[in-house]
Amino acid sequence: MHLIVVNVGVFRRAVTNFIFSPEQTLNGVLELVLNGGKPMIEVQKLTKRYGSNLALDDVSFSVKEGEVLGFLGPNGAGKSTTMNILTGYLSLSSGSVKIAGFDVLTDSMKAKENIGYLPEIPPLYPEMTVNSYLKFIFGIKKSKLPREKHIGEIVKKLGLDDVSGKVIRNLSKGYKQRVGLAGALIGDPKILILDEPTVGLDPQQIIEIRNLIESLKANHTVIFSSHILSEVQSLCDRVLVINKGKIIADDAPGDLSKQLESNQILFALIEGEKTSVVNLVNSIAGVSAVEAIKEAERSVFEYKIQTSSKDDIRRKLFFALSEAKMPLLGLRSCNFSLEEVFLKLVKDQESQENELKGQEPKEDESKKHQPQENK
C-alpha cells in the first residue's frame, strides 16, 4: 500500500518535471530504476563509545526498500548495539542514521514509527495475556489501523489463535518469540529489525520462524542478526559481517563464499577396490589429495577429492574411472560454507590488526570487546 501511494506521488512529480526539464528528469528516473528507490536505512560513519570502549567504529551501510539484510558476527561484535541505535534505544556517539529519510536524533518519533523491533530478549510483560499485550503495543505505537482487525490478522499470521487468551508467563519459548514478533509487526512498519530471532528455539520452531521471515520479505525491509550462518545464507539478499565494531564484509551470501574459493572439493561415490581407486584418482592431473571417507554400499566408497587448481577435473575423473571399469555412482562439488568464510574473514581482520598494533596479544583484545553487547 505504502509503496503504491508513494509511487503515484513520485510518478506525478516525474511527469510535471519532465515537461519543464526533461533531461534532469530522465536522469532521476534512471537513478530510481537503477537503485530501486530510496534507501530505507542509511547509516553513515556511525561510531558508538561506551566510555573509552569503542563498540562501533565508523560503520556505514544502507539498506534498500524490500531488501533482507543479515547481520553476522561473533558475540560482542556490535550487532545488538547497531540495532539498538537504529531503533533509537541507544544514542550514537558520532555519525548519522536515517530511517525512511528521518534522522533518528532530530526526527526520532517519525523514525520510530517506521520500525518494528524484536530485541534479543522479547520485551514481554509476563503477567499480561497475549491479546492484552498486543493491544498495549498497538496503543503505544499509536497506530491508526482498525485495531481488532489488524491484531486479528497478525495473530492469525503467527499462529497465535490458540494462545491469545493465555498469560504470557505460561507460554513456551517458541510462542514467546512469536508474540514478540507479533509485537514488532503491529502497526505494519516498513522496516523490521529482528535481533537473533531464532536463538534458543528448537529446530521445528526455527523453521517456523524462518518461514515467517520469508513470508514477511514481500512487504517489509528486514534486518536480522544471527550467528547461525545457514540461516543467513537461506534468508538474506545481502550479508554484513561485523567483527569488533567494524564491517569486514558486505556482499550477497553466494558471492561471499565465491570470493574465497581458491580450491575445490569434490565428493565422489566410486565402486571398486579402495587402494586402486585412490591410486588412480591421484594420478589425474590437478588432484592434490584423495581420501576415502566411508563405505556407502558394499564395495562402494565415498571419496573426498581436493583439487589444487581452479580447473574442472570432473570430466577427466569420469573418463579415467570408466576406462578402469570403476563406475562413478555419484559426484557432488562443495563450495566453501559460509562458516568457513566467516571464520576466515574474522581471522584475517585480527591478523591485520595485530600487524598494525605491533603484535598485541590476541586474547586481551577479545576480552576487551566482550562486555559491550550486554550494556
Binding site: 561506551y50 539498538n84 534505544y89 523491533y117 498495549f136 503505544i140
Partner: protein, 235 residues
C-alpha cells in the same frame, strides 16, 4: 500516556501489590479511625489523616518500586523506548497510575467521614483540606519513589533507598533542631514535609505556598525521572 496508565494500573492488580497496599492501608486507617475518633467519641478525623501522613512514607515505596526497575530488569523498556511515544508520556502514565492507586487507598477516609455523618455533622471543610493535604504529600512521595526506581534495575534497592529517604524526611524536623547552625535549621525546616503539611491542611487552611511546595516536588522528580531515562540512552 493513557495506554501506559491503563497497563500500569492493570499490572498493579495482576500482581499482589495493588491488593497488598490497599489492605495494608485500609487496615491501619481503620485502626486509627477507631482509636482516634470512635474510642475518643469525637467527630474529628484529623487523627486518621495524620496517621496516613506517616503511613504514606512507608507504603508509597511499595507502589513505586517496580515502576521502572522491573522494566529495565525484564528488558521491557526496549519496547517502550523504541515506540513512537515521548519519554514524558511514559513517565506521566506511570506516575498517574500510581497516583490513582494511592487515591483509591486514601479514599477510604471518605467512608469514615460518611460513618461519622450518620451520627453527627462532620467538619467537611477540614476533611476536604486534610484529604487534599495527604493527597499532595503522597504524590510527592510517589514522584520521589518513581525517580529512585528509574535509577536501578533492582526492586529491592529501589524500595530500600526510597524508604531511607522517606524516613529521613519524616524525622527531618527532629534532626534539624539538633544542628547548631541556624542557617541549616531554617533550610531543613523549609524542606520538611511535616512542616508544610501540619501547619496548614489539618487546620482547615489551604496555603498556596504549601500546595506549591508539594506540587514542585512532584514536578522536579518527574523531570528528573525523564532525565534519568534519557541518560541511559547516552551511557
Amino acid at each position: 500516556m493513557v495506554t501506559i496508565l491503563k497497563r500500569e494500573l492493570e499490572s498493579f492488580f495482576f500482581s499482589a501489590i495493588g491488593y497488598m497496599v490497599m489492605t495494608f492501608l485500609f487496615m491501619f486507617t481503620a485502626l486509627f479511625f477507631f482509636f482516634t475518633s470512635i474510642a475518643e467519641n469525637t467527630a474529628n478525623l484529623v487523627g486518621t489523616f495524620n496517621a496516613i501522613f506517616s503511613l504514606a512514607a512507608f507504603f508509597s515505596p511499595i507502589i513505586t518500586m517496580r515502576l521502572f526497575s522491573e522494566e529495565t530488569n525484564k528488558k521491557t523498556d526496549q519496547i517502550l523506548l523504541t515506540s513512537p511515544i515521548k519519554l514524558s508520556s511514559i513517565v506521566l502514565g506511570k506516575y498517574f497510575a500510581s497516583i490513582l492507586l494511592y487515591l483509591a487507598c486514601i479514599s477510604m477516609t471518605l467512608v469514615y467521614a460518611l460513618v461519622i455523618s450518620k451520627f453527627t455533622t462532620p467538619e467537611w471543610p477540614i476533611i476536604f483540606t486534610s484529604f487534599l493535604g495527604i493527597f499532595l504529600v503522597g504524590s510527592a512521595f510517589i514522584s520521589m519513589g518513581m525517580f529512585f526506581s528509574s535509577l536501578t534495575e533492582n526492586q529491592v534497592v529501589a524500595v530500600v533507598v526510597t524508604l531511607v529517604v522517606n524516613i529521613a524526611i519524616l524525622i527531618m524536623d527532629a534532626m534539624s533542631s539538633a544542628i547548631p547552625v541556624k542557617f541549616l535549621i531554617d533550610f531543613l525546616k523549609n524542606l520538611s514535609f511535616s512542616g508544610h503539611y501540619f501547619q496548614s491542611f489539618p487546620l482547615g487552611m489551604l496555603k498556596l505556598k504549601d500546595m506549591v511546595f508539594f506540587l514542585s516536588v512532584d514536578l522536579i522528580f518527574i523531570f528528573l525521572t525523564t532525565r534519568a531515562l534519557e541518560r541511559k540512552r547516552w551511557s
